[in-house]
Symmetry: C2
Subunit: 264 residues, 2 copies
């Protein structure tokens, strides 16, 4: 480490009072100058949502001694945008860390996760970014054994940087004996049987989203596999979603649009 | 076309009463049996958000003659999940089309767009899926010249299928003389100067998200370039967000986590 401490933006999706972000803040205080911008209420499953057409508020709060903290009425991605534009005013922090999420964000969950979308937005803004998640939804989750992995990973990112358009998705298994770190790809999988259908007191149907995660990948190089074995998984993530491999085949398609006469 | 008409799921993010979805429904009725599940209110910028911890409602509505339509209180992705689970009951439609969005969803907007996230969720569910967007936010936008392109693209997808984990992001320029279709990659770009800061009547700050799109890509193979030239852009999109190219370099990093004694 040099004498000049790095500036670290901390965000999450479980909200500013979540136990997970407290652990992340404490670890980051050992490394650099910490600025926290987090939602004022839980925002799990918000994906890459942004707030359009409604005003946003961001207010200073003092939850932990010596930490510059702001609560925000918006989504996790809004928090990153507000931090970059209104707190850092375009002068980017050295790293953006998101989490620690209460619950895994491996496999397809990278799409739904506000934690990962906040880190992705950090990367879109040109900031080296990492999302952290633990396989434990409980408010009493024990994050302690994640601490050395988090600081180890953050120090490596500060030292080595990340390629443009790339961030890291780090997931921890629920175990106090993490076997180590495995670099992985995102496992194929999806959620199935997703709704609990009920009838309200007025006779109208409504639905609770529920269901279970179904792994559809037998690969031994996936995040799901590493977590099952007791390793922390690290997946490099990109937000260029182009399926480059399919461009040549698409170019061979013949689109019949000639018959249009404008009067249909 | 065979005698058995394909089943087509139509979704959007601008809401079930938007002009764009009406045009899409009309075009799809010429091709197959249409089922519409769309948000009951505008859901622009919702990205891949899902509704957790709040009940969802989905009710039949009859806006257009002979069309099976449902309005949903949830996000665009919720609409797709409810359609698959509660309407199709696991028997997948032949194609999922989303839009036509009022406003472009090229480049980085694929992340923020509810239109594209709904199509992505269709692909996650194993349904060939396409999102359509027009470069015109107006409620009076003229979608007519998009019609033959939409039906041409949908017929090609029905005939050829799409590879697993792949969908299409189709954007139309604002012009009545579309020059044709270009297969593209997602342009690099981002939104800058994003907040209009104001003071409310009670003396408190608040923010409106605003800003402008900044293209950061000089490539001539991008969706942004094709649209600028007056072509409809077609980008194949994947939801494996793994930055595969960066895995070898990450494997060479040395993560220092040995010093943890559990008492920190």
């Amino acid at each position: 480490m040099t004498d000049i401490k790095p500036t670290i933006l901390v965000v999450n999706d479980d909200g500013i009072t979540a136990p997970g972000i407290k652990v992340l803040i404490e670890e980051m205080q050992k490394i650099g100058h910490v600025v926290v911008v987090a939602p004022d209420s839980p925002q799990s499953g918000m994906g890459h949502a942004i707030t359009i057409g409604k005003p946003l508020r961001m207010d200073r709060v003092d939850l932990y001694p010596g930490v510059e903290m702001y609560k925000c009425t918006g989504t996790p991605v809004d928090c990153v945008k507000l931090a970059v534009n209104k707190i850092f005013k375009g002068k980017r922090p050295d790293i953006c860390v998101s989490g620690i999420n209460h619950g895994l964000n491996n496999s397809i969950n990278v799409l739904y996760s506000g934690t990962m979308s906040a880190a992705t937005e950090g990367a879109v803004e040109g900031i080296p970014s990492v999302g952290f998640s633990l396989d434990d939804f409980s408010q009493q989750a024990d994050f302690s054994y994640c601490r050395p992995y988090i600081s180890g990973i953050v120090r490596q990112v500060l030292d080595n940087g990340l390629p443009p358009g790339t961030l890291l998705n780090v997931n921890f298994p629920k175990t106090d004996t993490i076997k180590g770190i495995k670099i992985c790809r995102q496992a194929a999988g999806r959620w199935v049987e997703e709704f609990d259908e009920r009838v309200d007191p007025y006779g109208r149907d409504y639905y609770w989203m529920t269901g279970r995660f179904q792994l559809e990948d037998r690969g031994e190089d996936t995040d799901a596999h590493a977590l099952n074995l007791g390793y922390a998984s690290v997946v490099p993530v990109q937000f260029d979603m182009t399926a480059h491999h399919f461009i040549p085949a698409l170019n061979s398609w013949s689109f019949d649009v000639a018959s249009y006469d404008g009067n249909e």
